[in-house]
Amino acid sequence: MTTTSAPPPQPEPKRRVGDRVFAGSAKGAGILILVVLAGVAVFLVTEAWPAFTASPADLAGGEGVLSYVAPLVFGTLLAAVIALLIATPLAVAIALFITYYVPRRLAAGLGYVVDLLAAIPSIVYGFWGIAALAPALVPFYGWAERNLGFIPFFAGPASATGRTMLTAGLVLAVMILPIISAISREVFSQAPLLHREAALALGATRWEMITMAVLPYGKSGIIGGAMLGLGRALGETLAIALVLSISGGISFNLISNTNPGTIAANIALQFPESTGLDVNTLIASGLVLFVITLAVNMLARWVVNRRADFSGAN
């Protein structure tokens, strides 16, 4: 490439008033987004600060912010991980089904139906979870306690209402399913036709074609989609607040009535009746949630965007 050592500065081209105003307001809107995000961080820190500086005895639980938040963080992670473990394989299978196993004219419709799962408000999931799913799972929890009780996760005593950590995880799984499946679908459908046809031309079956040409290409998309789903699951509020029977503490028992809460659900349950320092404590826990989801989402975006550079499609 020919480069010049020092290009002389071109005079700033003259611009019309309309252009200046329009470009300015567009830029202003962009900057507003910056400001709002900074505002979220600043306001959360300001409002959380009293909880960090107050004497631990004045706070709920009486042992300081960290020991108040720790079990909540545990519960948040536990519920989200359960959801992720259930939803990811299902979502990938659904994405494969829609992209490579149904006729093209059906694919869009089926994809739309799966996306409908994402449209349902979280409170309605909560209603369904508490009124339909939880009671339906009670027999299973009884069976699991009797036959799988040696595993700590199923130690019991089995919940009689079904409002357990596993139920909450299942509800979350349904909620994040469409997110993971939408992103997987997108990357699967972008798998290079050339590679797919090459695999088929070698006499591969459809599944072999998928393992040879689609999954390697879509791997980072699946991971990124799963992490976006994780981010959503971590922040999910109302479904958990309704479904989970919360007693606090840390427990790996997935089928009992005594469960750790999650940050978001705890805020929703406590906030309306809280005043003074309790509000600051809740906002502090919200700050922790914000930081966790921020980290997870940034990582997810990084994974997804990296795919664009190393996909082999270019």
Binding site: M1, T2, T3, T4, P7, P13, K14, R15, R16
Partner: protein
Amino acid sequence: MAKRIDVSDLDIYYGNFKAVEGVNISIEPRSITALIGPSGCGKSTFLRSLNRMHEVVPGARIEGKVVIDGQDLYGSDVDPVDVRRQIGMVFQRPNPFPTMSIYDNVVAGVRLNSTKLKRAALDELVERSLRAANLWTEVKDRLDRPGAGLSGGQQQRLCIARAIAVEPEVLLMDEPCSALDPISTLAIEDLMTQLKERFTIVIVTHNMQQAARVSEFTGFFNLAGVGQPGRLVEFNPTEKIFSNPDQKSTEDYISGRFG
């Protein structure tokens, strides 16, 4: 209203990359000037610099002078938007506005510039422009239909009608026939010969027969080498270029012994 264009010592840059170097050319009014040359030699870039369309790419800038009838196109007080009103452009692929009818496409340049015209004046402008673009008889009964519904060749003539409706002085055409079939191409070429009565036309083409058929003058662009900027190798009357070019590389290119 056709005007002459004088270009002197023009260099065009994209960021730090020099795409075109040292162009000196004088384009005659009321004539067709064809620019030929291999792909990537900078002829389209040069064409776009004539109405400052290359500035759409961020970081693009020029050194040198482009003067239209004594007026410097790149003067510090010149608005590129005004330049483009005087110097129209037709693109490689027909690009009628999909949201507009045939009628609205033709008057788009007038309307989008918020010039207020009476309905009768607009009607008159539409008919005049479409007649000038040899499209009137084909579309006069469906002016309210979407412009994108026409055939490729009709769309391109619609785009020409749209370009001439704003009464420019110069018409730049960037490979206007490369996406068209031979019949439509012929229609456009006929149109060009009619239009040169009123406009100065500069056309970039890959089709050397087309250059030989329609143009009075031909400029041959070439790269000095890989990664080098494109240069105007030769500029002469078309007849001379195609029969007895000054430069060896021009002859090689024209006779197909290129590369």
